[in-house]
């Protein structure tokens, strides 16, 4: 069925075999997994690290003097160190482990914003955001009387920078902005945006869920205040994530949740919170998941973030051009800089129907609103079909997708 041979990404091409889930047939066809933006597959190294940990080293962390507890703590805290280096945080105290991007954003909304926001203050986001970077701000605005304001996006799926900058003022206390749009693939020009926000004294949270898996991240160079991302999108386990925050800000913030591990001393009159990052990590963490996430970091580094970025850039260009060449396909999201994601429509076929027809041919794409309903509304669509790439995809996958679309056209002819 494949029309061309993989013509690029050969250096990275062998990575595909590291991912056991990709080596299967679905509905009688080789699986073509184009849904990594929703959740990525894991290399065997990650799956095995988690299982090995459970078979040999599991115990609760931080609180035990026995050998297993010590081993578990070393592995768990070792993963934190890896994450710290991976995004170039200045200090492991800045790596707060969460259950995902969503919890990380909620933590900032509740611990950074809620105590200080009041009526008249504003939180600024863009029209591109994922629900996880919208609803937490809506909730805190409702709780405090602050106002949520939203910068428009244009027809290509770029944030309208003029509008965004015009909305910035001293009233704005925080800007929440995605690194890469999960719906349209737009890479936001963060350097400019953050520099501008700085001038107004606006704190910046970057939703990096779709950034981290695809490019080298240096939080210090970015200049933001918070950077949030999820383990499961970067080939690590579900139920893991990171909130990176500047130490000085985290230091000032009250804890988010109460419980074990986040305190130094509890009495009924007076409770002393633990130091960073533990102040924000209440209860038994996802130990196995975090250890797996550390292995995912090792894996990504062994492949090389720059190779990944180059590979995906080339492949995305191929994806976009091949899709555009299909009769009746309309690309949704044609921003100047895009990464890994391409949304589209085929004639008037509802994306959900398209998803079923492709799945029937072994091609897994996502269809629907992609947790970005405002983006859909902006384009007047009920949803889109979205193909998204991970480091393991190749041009053959794209060719399969295109071939499968032909069949959809026939059925709905």
């Amino acid at each position: 069925m494949s029309q061309t041979q993989a013509t690029f990404g050969t250096g990275i091409a062998q990575c595909r075999s590291d991912f056991p889930a990709l080596d299967q047939d679905v509905n009688g066809h080789r699986l073509v997994y184009l849904d990594s933006a929703a959740s990525a597959q894991q290399p065997a190294a990650v799956i095995d690290a988690v299982a090995r940990y459970q078979r040999n080293d599991h115990a609760n962390v931080h609180r035990g003097v026995h050998t297993l507890s010590h081993r578990a703590t070393e592995l768990y805290e070792g993963a934190r160190d890896k994450l710290c280096a991976f995004i170039n945080a200045s200090n492991r105290a800045e790596i707060v482990l969460t259950s995902g991007t969503t919890e990380a954003v909620n933590l900032v909304a509740q611990s950074f914003c809620r105590p200080t926001l009041s009526a008249g203050d504003q939180i600024l986001i863009t029209g591109l955001e994922h629900h996880s970077n919208i609803v937490p701000w809506q909730l805190v605005c409702e709780q405090t009387g602050a106002e949520l304001i939203v910068a428009d996006i244009d027809d290509d799926g770029d944030v309208n920078l003029e509008h965004l900058f015009a909305l910035m003022s001293e009233r704005v206390k925080l800007l929440g902005i995605g690194h890469v749009s999960n719906a349209l693939g737009t890479i936001n020009p963060l350097a400019d945006i953050i520099a501008q926000a700085r001038q107004h004294g606006i704190a910046v949270l970057v939703d990096g869920a779709q950034g981290v898996p695809h490019m080298n991240i240096d939080v210090q160079a970015l200049g933001c205040d918070f950077y949030a991302f999820s383990g499961h999108k970067m080939f690590g386990p579900t139920g893991t994530g990171v909130l990176w925050g500047r130490e000085a800000l985290l230091e000032e913030m009250p804890p988010y949740q109460g419980g074990g591990d986040m305190i130094l001393e509890v009495s009924f009159d007076n409770t002393v919170f633990n130091e960073l990052p533990y102040k924000f990590e209440a209860g038994t963490p996802n130990i196995a998941g975090v250890i797996g996430l550390g292995t995912a970091v090792d894996y990504l580094l062994s492949v090389g973030m720059d190779s990944i970025y180059e590979h995906e850039k080339t492949l995305h260009a191929y994806l976009a051009s091949q899709l555009a060449s299909v009769d009746g396909v309309r690309l949704i999201g044609t921003a100047k800089h895009q990464a890994s994601v391409q949304s589209f429509m085929l004639n008037d076929i509802h994306p959900h129907d398209l998803g079923t027809i492709l799945d029937h041919q072994g091609v897994a794409i996502r269809t629907g609103h992609h947790c970005a309903m405002p983006v859909m509304k902006r384009f007047g669509l009920p949803g889109t079909a979205r193909a998204s790439l991970g480091l393991y995809n190749n041009s053959d996958d794209v060719d399969h997708l295109v071939a499968a679309l032909e069949k959809a056209r026939q059925i709905f002819a």
Binding site: P351, H352, T356, H360, T367, G368, P382
Partner: protein, 159 residues
């Protein structure tokens, strides 16, 4: 790869009658004088429709309409629903809800004997049974029907 078999299965799902109802839904539009109405939402794919019923004094559904948007399966199912339940008693209409949801979620199609209603046109939906992730689309309008018959304004989801 046996393209023939697949195409057949897909054709089972997307039968001509389904495509036809999806493209030209019957009884599409709001009924301003509806006595019962309910919204159906399928958060999975964004299907969203509102069903309007006019029930007369004898508890007969005299008119049915719907508006909304969604995939071919949900639109066709809603359209077929309007044709099926018009002129039924409220009781029989609600029995249809149960029959259809059972029929689509269970492997066999045991149900339809429970009533007199003509459900033959609903056979068009049978292909959905092979696509468990699409059953919600096919049953959405029926859940809305059930909700509408229970109360005058409510929201149904298939989650």
């Amino acid at each position: 790869m046996n393209d023939t078999l697949q195409k057949d299965e897909l054709r089972e799902l997307y039968r001509e009658v389904i495509l036809d109802h999806a493209r030209k839904p019957r009884n599409f539009g709001r009924l301003d004088d509806a006595t019962h109405t309910a919204e159906g939402i399928n958060p999975l794919c964004g299907d969203k429709l509102r069903l309007y019923l006019i029930v007369d004094a004898e508890q007969t559904v005299v008119s049915v309409g719907f508006e909304g948007s969604g995939c071919a399966i949900s639109m066709a199912s809603a359209s077929l629903l309007t044709e099926t339940v018009t002129r039924l008693s409220v009781e029989d209409a609600d029995a249809c809800f149960r029959t259809v949801t059972q029929r689509l979620t269970q492997a066999n199609d045991g149900a339809s004997a429970t009533q007199e209603t003509d459900l033959s046109r609903l056979r068009a939906l049978d292909g959905v049974r092979e696509y468990p992730s699409r059953v919600k689309c096919a049953t959405l309008a029926w859940h809305a029907l059930h909700a509408a018959l229970k109360q005058s304004d409510s929201k149904a989801t298939t989650e």
